[in-house]
């Protein structure tokens, strides 16, 4: 895949407000092709809303969203065709079997029959769902549902992956497979934007990171740039995150709780 000159994602002055709460506050963001980009931030900082805005699930109050060279508001269907999305807690069709669900997703994205068959088989094998694919999803564990949601995002070979807490509930082997798969896809030019609370994973996987707080972008860059911004040379992402979000005083909080 040959990445185009344009960024995979370009957000300019994007804001979203829910009544008196500012979920996303005037964000400018560029994500390059073939990049794994991490969105970090405390609960309610605007990560999920930002991902939804990119996909067109949430309409911004202001600003422009350009995804893979397409203005998302002008042609949302063209954007959706090229994006694979895993929501934070994916609600699947529980009355379908895993296989029926993936078949449905394949058809929705217009994956050719033979290709669909091969890919579903490979993914089910890789994520150890073989043998359970004929069971209704209602009987799956949360981890199994997450695996199905991830397969459904990968199935149509999207150019952009939007993953909200992608490794949540996965067993270590499957998590490793997904991580390796994302790296391989990156080398093929697929862009991944993921939101996560697991800072070790973010630090290990992401080329660049953005730290969000109260809807704003507090910091943006690779690990070295974030260390410089936080003035914490040699420190890990957890220390940087806590310092930048002003939540580093955890010791006092714990002591207060133990009183």
């Amino acid at each position: 895949m040959i990445p185009s000159v344009e960024s995979a994602l370009k957000l300019r002055g994007v804001s979203k407000r829910y009544e008196d709460i500012v979920a996303v506050d005037n964000i400018d963001l560029d994500v390059e092709h073939g990049e794994i980009f991490g969105l970090l931030g405390p609960n309610g900082s605007g990560k999920t809303t930002t991902l939804k805005i990119i996909l067109g699930l949430v309409k911004p109050d202001s600003g422009s969203v350009n995804v893979l060279g397409i203005e998302a508001t002008n042609d949302p269907i063209a954007v959706k065709k090229q994006v694979g999305y895993v929501p934070e807690s994916p609600r699947l069709y529980e009355f379908l079997t895993g296989l029926e669900y993936l078949d449905f997703i394949g058809d929705i994205y217009g994956v050719a029959l033979s290709e669909k068959k091969t890919r579903i088989k490979e993914y089910l094998e890789a994520l150890e769902l073989e043998g359970r694919e004929g069971d209704m999803i209602s009987s799956y564990s949360e981890g199994m549902k997450q695996k199905i949601a991830l397969i459904s995002a990968f199935l149509h070979k999207p150019k952009l992956l939007l993953l909200d807490e992608p490794l949540s509930g996965l067993d270590p082997r499957s998590a490793r497979i997904v991580k390796d798969l994302l790296r391989k896809l990156t080398s093929q030019g697929v862009t991944t934007i993921m939101s996560t609370h697991i800072l070790e994973i973010a630090q290990a996987m992401c080329d660049r990171l953005a730290i969000m707080y109260e809807g704003r972008l507090l910091a943006l860059g690779n690990m070295e740039e974030l260390r410089q911004k936080a003035r914490l040379p040699g420190s890990d992402l957890e220390d940087i995150f806590l310092k930048l979000t002003g939540t580093e005083d955890v010791r006092e909080v714990v002591e207060a709780l133990l009183k």
Partner: protein, 561 residues
């Protein structure tokens, strides 16, 4: 038993209604006035009815009639506990049926320090909240008011107590049924393996159809009066059945038989306690619901070459139709769509064969045929259209995140409505033809009319179903906002009447449906009547299909859920 825990659990159940009422969720404030409006209203209506009856009884000049009224009132009081029991069982069962398949609503918070007895008591009492409690308040208000006027306060107090106990008894019975149902159904699915999906479909349909036929038989016109008469008379004959002991106790109290009163009352209370004990034990054993792993297919993945593709549907549209077909045959809460047409076939059939009394006359059978051919399909189209978008529930994000256009969404959803409704019409038509043996002209005309109604009402209700979709799933899937459903069901009825009017005129002017007074209009030809209907139906379909498309565009743009 920690009573505070019971009260807290009941309050959680009441608050679950917030989500399905579509309240704003931020800075939520509940209006107490609104919360108690139903019960306050029931109380006021009860008082008004009671005063009305009491005044009527007082002003009647004829002493014989007065005595008769007095005696009838007392007889009615005696039958009240058993009647309340029957109706509470039906209502609480209805509540449970609506919740079937919703895991979250069945799952008690087992990780909290709450005993099974507390949970069972809370669940039993919470079952009564809503219509059953409002009905109890209404009835109690009537009884109290009438009794004060008649100077029978002790009887009123006893009756009201018996009503409350009966309602609790009914709800406990429902609780036992609920737990057993979860256990039994789980066991059946596990043992039936691949056939589980169809066992579930047929089993649920059978259960619900029987339930609704019994319900309609109880509540429809003369049957409800017959039921009251039967209960008043039959209670004595079946005195050994514990469920009538409360009524027996009340009857004994009214006759001044104190020993019998105490015996039946004590026995009733012991029976209620025993049932409650059983319910708590069953809950402890089977109460935690685990969805059975239903294996639908095994082995090699074999994608089908879509038949729908050959009909002109894209792979996306065909996929949505297939998915929805599975939803309607696998999700219990959606099976209601099939129940109403089935009830509409069975009820007239039972009437025809005289199950509810005299069999229908030949002219009645013509009317019956028209009813069987027209109503089920049209009703199914209207119901499906209203719920077919909301039934997506929370997984509706698939439509927002995937490349589904408004045109595709409306096309595939509308197609499924038409397919299901036409099948229902054909089945009903075949049954109707076998029974009523109409002429070919009439059969074809009614079949065409039915199809026209399906196309028109399907488009009307689909447009409404898109704008009025409600995706909340807990405590039960609502699918469509109640106001939207009410308004559009009414609109569907009006439009159906308008479309059907030419055919009705034909039936009246030609004497197909006999009238006491001849209609002063020239005879309208059958084919002209159907043609006028067709034009009206096609215009309606076109206009509302366009509206549905516009609504779908807005729906996909305003994707925020």
């Amino acid at each position: 038993m920690n009573w505070k825990n019971v009260l807290r659990l009941i309050s959680v159940d009441i608050k679950a209604g917030r989500l399905i009422r579509g309240q704003r969720l931020r800075r939520y404030r509940e209006s107490r006035v609104f919360q108690y409006l139903l019960y306050g209203g029931a109380c006021l209506i009860g008082l008004a009815i009671g005063i009305g009856i009491a005044i009527f009884c007082t002003v009647v000049p004829d002493p014989q009639l007065k005595t008769l009224l007095y005696q009838s009132t007392r007889d009615l009081f005696v039958s009240f506990p058993t009647l309340v029991l029957i109706f509470s069982v039906v209502f609480t069962m209805m509540g449970q049926i609506q919740r079937m398949g919703v895991r979250a609503s069945l799952q008690p918070p087992y990780w909290l320090p709450i005993t099974w007895k507390e949970h069972t008591l809370a669940s039993t009492l919470a079952n009564l909240i809503g219509v059953p409690l409002a009905a109890l308040i209404l009835l109690s208000s009537v009884i109290a008011t009438v009794s004060i006027f008649l100077g029978e306060t002790p009887i009123a107090v006893f009756t009201i107590f018996a009503l409350l106990a009966s309602a609790f008894l009914a709800s406990t019975t429902t609780e036992i049924f609920r737990v057993l149902q979860v256990r039994f159904v789980g066991a059946v699915y596990k043992s039936t393996g691949k056939a589980a999906v169809w066992v579930r479909f047929v089993g649920s349909l059978l259960f619900l159809v029987v339930f609704y036929i019994v319900w309609f038989a109880f509540t429809s016109g003369a049957s409800s009066v017959a039921l009251i008469e039967a209960v008043a008379g039959a209670q004595q004959a079946v005195w050994f059945v514990p469920y009538v002991w409360l009524g027996m106790s009340l009857a004994a109290f009214m006759s001044g038989l104190l020993v019998q009163t105490m015996l039946f009352l004590l026995a009733s209370l012991l029976f209620i306690l025993a049932l409650f004990y059983v319910a708590a034990k069953l809950n402890a054993k089977f109460g935690l619901y685990e969805p059975p792993a239903i294996t639908v297919s095994r082995g090699i993945y074999a994608p089908k070459v879509g038949f729908l593709g050959k009909l002109g549907f894209s792979s996306l549209e065909a996929a949505v139709i297939r998915k929805d077909f599975k939803a309607f045959t696998r999700r219990r809460e959606l099976m209601y769509v099939f129940i109403m047409p089935l009830v509409f076939i069975l009820m007239p059939l039972m009437q025809y064969f005289g199950v509810y009394g005299r069999p229908v006359q030949p002219e009645g059978s013509r009317f019956l045929f028209a009813l069987m051919l027209l109503i089920p399909g049209a009703m199914m189209a209207a119901m499906m259209g209203l719920m077919i978008i909301g039934e997506e529930g929370e997984p509706v994000w698939h439509f927002f995140s995937s490349p589904v256009t408004a045109r595709s969404l409306v096309k595939c959803k509308y197609a499924l409505i038409i397919i299901f409704s036409c099948v229902a019409t054909l089945v009903c038509g075949v049954v109707g033809i076998l029974i009523a043996r109409p002429s070919l002209d009439i059969a074809v005309a009614l079949l065409a009319e039915s199809m026209l109604l399906i196309f028109a009402l399907g488009a009307v209700s689909l447009g409404a179903g898109i704008t009025g979709a409600d995706f909340t799933e807990v405590p039960r899937p609502r699918m469509v906002r109640p106001l939207t459903a009410f308004v559009y069901m009414f609109l569907c009825m009006v439009l159906a009447s308008v479309i059907f009017f030419p055919l009705l005129l034909h039936a009246l002017t030609t004497g197909y449906i006999p009238t006491p007074i001849p209609v002063p209009l020239p005879k309208i030809d059958l084919y002209i009547a159907v043609s006028i209907s067709a034009v009206m139906a096609l215009i309606t379909t076109f206009v509302f299909y366009k509206i549905a498309l516009k609504n779908a565009e807005e729906f996909l743009i305003k994707a925020e859920i």
